[in-house]
Symmetry: C2
Subunit: 248 residues, 2 copies
């Protein structure tokens, strides 16, 4: 089972949007996927709330994590956010043993992929995401402050690798919200490729308001409008994750 | 002295961009302004780092908060971020008495405005921002998830008002990153005005990549390109804050 935490301490760079589309895309390609919404804000849970999410579809009599999992659509399952009623406070203890158990149970349950949506800022929940998964996917906006955030995030990964061996491995950096009309995006992508080479996904996620619209309807773009720019971009990305890059 | 915390737990909605432009705009209109970067990420500090920020310009022999303040430009002063070396951990204690003292010292020092850039997520630093200021300005992106964040933020303000009387008063909601080509922005603005009436600023901040460019050059848009769309939008906003709305 592959497990990836979608993380970046910078806010609004497309972590949630990337997490739900990577998860749904993998499910559409035939894998059993568990999407875990680790953000008390519950944005991922909200963004897919109209996709036939069925409370009753949790296995009756299910125990452990399976009592909490809900089938979203096909082979995409969701562990919803704990919600803002359990807002992160300095006293919220996240049980590391519970996380390890969670991951083991999912693997036993036949899950092939675990995708975790992390909150911005490396707090308890953010670190839980790194501990829960082996890999980390960092979405980066094609903008200045996001670049700054990336170097810091990479240092965080080194810390995670040291503290939790077998965790915090960089799956890659995905450039998001690319505004094709603007040269700054080109410069940033070029910069990233020079510094991180093949660690930068070839797929670029272009700005597309349909992604925002889809979220407001509680559906991923694959359900909302399969052939728009945003859908094609995320489809390319899922294909690249599954099959690797097409060119050298 | 008026004091305002620019806050919203949703990431990437333009808190930092709004904080630096409100602060610089007020300074350009003749007020003495202290901008406090309460986000350990230090995005506000970075975004104005090339504006003649002078380490030596801190008053020599200055004590207390004045030893930490740096003159940025004209009457705009900055209390820089504590930086990611002091990243927020569950054990970071923010001294409430220190915050009250900070605010009192600034007022004694002749400051007319205090603008605080808060991090996303209501953590220690976020709450410190609410305690430090009397008012709160909530930037809201013209998008679905941002709307969800707003209702939650308003509940947070009620909590703040109850816990810290004289604090957490809503100055207003500023709609940011408006993509004029897209109908969803119109619907969101309409929705907001229906629900919050005059609490929604009339000024709308349109999407303008020049704002991103300016940040990458370490300057506000007023220094970088005074007559572009983003500059005119933030100028309108500053004028509205100072003079109130032009229509009923
Ligand atoms: N490619 C895109 N084009 C246009 N809008 C986008 C795109 N990707 C994401 N968005 C929108 O930008 C906003 C922020 O995206 P998202 O919530 O995925 O970021 P995030 O990093 O998860 O934010 P947070 O730090 O608050 O968790 C959302 O309203 C989302 O719909
Ligand atoms: N009106 C705008 N048009 C285009 N880009 C914008 C606009 N306002 C802000 N941005 C850009 O969007 C990104 C996010 O903005 P900003 O950093 O101000 O948000 P934030 O709410 O402070 O984020 P965080 O939650 O990480 O603190 C930045 O790269 C910024 O330059
Ligand atoms: Mg998110
Ligand atoms: Mg910010």
């Amino acid at each position: 089972m592959r497990s990836v935490a979608v993380a970046n301490q910078k806010g609004g760079v497309g972590k949630t949007t990337t997490a739900i589309h990577l998860a749904h895309g993998l499910a559409l390609s035939g894998r059993r996927v568990a999407l875990i919404d680790l953000d008390p804000q519950g944005n991922a849970t909200l963004a897919i709330q109209s996709m036939g999410l069925d409370e009753a579809a949790g296995e009756s009599g299910a125990e452990g994590v399976f009592a909490l999992l809900r089938r979203v659509s096909g082979e995409l399952w969701l562990l919803p956010s704990s919600g803002s009623s359990r807002n992160l406070g300095p006293d919220t203890k996240l049980d590391t043993r519970g996380l390890v158990r969670l991951s083991a149970e999912l693997e036993k349950g036949g899950f092939e992929w675990l995708v975790v949506d992390c909150p911005p800022r490396m707090d308890h929940w953010g670190w839980a995401g790194l501990q829960l998964c082996q890999e980390v996917l960092i979405p980066v906006q094609a903008e200045f402050l996001a670049m700054q955030g990336l170097s810091q995030m990479l240092r965080t990964l080194e810390q995670a690798q040291a503290q939790f061996p077998g965790h915090g491995e960089l799956m890659g950096v995905l450039v998001t919200m690319v505004d094709q009309r603007h040269p700054i995006a080109r410069d940033v992508v070029q910069d990233l490729r020079q510094n991180l080479g093949p660690k930068v996904f070839e797929s670029l996620i272009f700005r597309d308001m349909q992604l925002v619209e889809a979220a407001s309807h509680g559906k991923t773009i694959f359900e909302y409008n399969l052939f728009c720019k945003g859908a094609l971009a995320y489809a390319d990305f899922v294909r690249e994750v599954v099959h690797g890059r097409t060119s050298t």
